[in-house]
Amino acid sequence: MTHGLPLAICVAIVIGTVVAALAFARLRSARVTTMDEWAVGGRRFGAWIFWFVNAGEIYTTFAVLGISGYAWAFGAPAYLAFTSVSLACALGYWLMPQIWRAGKRYGLVTQADFFSLHYRAPWLGVIVGIAGIAALIVYVQIQLTALTLVFRLTLGSALGAPQAAVLAAVAMLAFVYLAGLRSAAFAAGVKDVLMIALVVMLSVTVADKVGASSMLDVFRRTQELHPGIGRLPGLQPEAGLSNTWLVTAALNVALGTWIFPHMFQLCFSARNANTIRRNAIWQPLYSLSYFFILLLGFAALLAGTQPEDGNLNAVLLQFVADRYPPWAVGLLAGTVCLLALVPGSILLLAAASIFGRNVVLPMRPQLGDVAQVWVARAAMVVFAAIAVWLTLTSNESLVAVGLSAYAAIGMLAPGVFLGFLWQRANAAGVLAGLVAGYCTLLLPAGKAAAAALFPEWDSGLVAMGVNALVVVLVSAASPASQRSTSVDTAHSGT
């Protein structure tokens, strides 16, 4: 696919959006000179902007390329997508206002701020900051993988994967350097509208492309051709994507969603707690659109789509390239670029602000606000480079990479939840829990034990359970004088 048209459309979409986003940001806000403005939008986001940034974070390439690929390769396990947003919102309705309140009260900018202030342990902020950055980099890897695929689709496979990945990282850095969260909010809005239009457009014509009579007929035929695709464990029972897997993975995703530093931080950018609550009502509905993503995955299966090297992340791109006109390919490529660039830039932004504030600042307290922003910007290059390296060394599905990012960030969940729910939880407990959780997740012995005791469980949920248990045990065993501050629990309406 080296026609000029898809490339031209793709570039036009990306550049057009960036320019419009910049204009929008200039229009809306003064110069970005403080960390507060750059990273949390000055805490002034109303319902609309908040919705779009939020949706922008939830509906990423993980959803579009990852889930369609999962539907194509496995079938029913792709239903995980239907649970991810709704459960996160049900939980977020309670959790996000707590986070927002803590943020408002202490003037928090990052998640690590929360840990160091709530647990009165600046060292814990440093450790949590680094842990958060690690999980964010894995998440950036997802976006870079997607961008790499799009670049190779539009520019031709002559472009090697390493070059494409580097190009993708450069594009992402360029995007984020131009401005902070405010322009990302606008770009997120554009990409959501584009994505819906595109997905609907592809879906309306999909039946025709694969010889079915209607959208529903695509599902009917796929089930006739592949009995068992519609129920777990799907097409490849040996992959272990069973009921147990769906239940545990869905829980782990729900528990981890707001723990991602950028999502945690996003709570601070809302104007008030009510903005957040109202958002939680409508956000799940948006995830009904995964119906179309599954439809496209099933249609690709019917059409016999074979992506290069059997790479399931490339199924949707390959299917559209095979069956749709070049302009549709360009539209898809441009949309996927935005789908990767917008969240990717927000992820890098969050990682960088944590690094500047919570890792560097404790060591160099005399650093000014402007200098902090510059340190953060430099750190982003390093993080992007690590993500490029991860992208090139992994050939897993985007869903698998996504779940490992959730597993990584889930390590911080006990510290957040227990922080709000249990006044005795303390810094030593949180640290011990982190260590135990990482051992379960990363050490070969820990992994083996978890897999033997909890077969087919999402490994992240098992590690989170171990982590939480250790936090409780250690906190309960420590003297009561080490108690955390209790300010931001229950009664605090402001």
Binding site: L87, F219, A250, N274, L288
Partner: protein, 70 residues
């Protein structure tokens, strides 16, 4: 948030629907509109979630007209 928060338990209903009951509906062979039943179930779960959160929000707003204006 001084008044009863019992209605907040409703926020667990989506978990019951989409997680706890998911294994039970996995074996249902019916195909509403030609779609696999477990898929329809999960999509309905999204509607259930929005309904539950909306109800909780309503009650919260009614209760909190005095405090929480932030």
């Amino acid at each position: 948030m001084s008044r009863s928060n019992r209605h907040r338990w409703l926020l667990l209903a989506p978990f019951a629907w989409q997680v706890a009951l998911a294994p039970l509906v996995n074996d249902v062979v019916a195909q509403p509109f030609g779609l696999p039943f477990p898929m329809v179930w999960q999509m309905l779960g999204i509607l259930v979630t929005t309904a539950c959160i909306a109800i909780v929000y309503r009650i919260d707003r009614r209760d909190a007209s005095s405090d929480d204006s932030a």
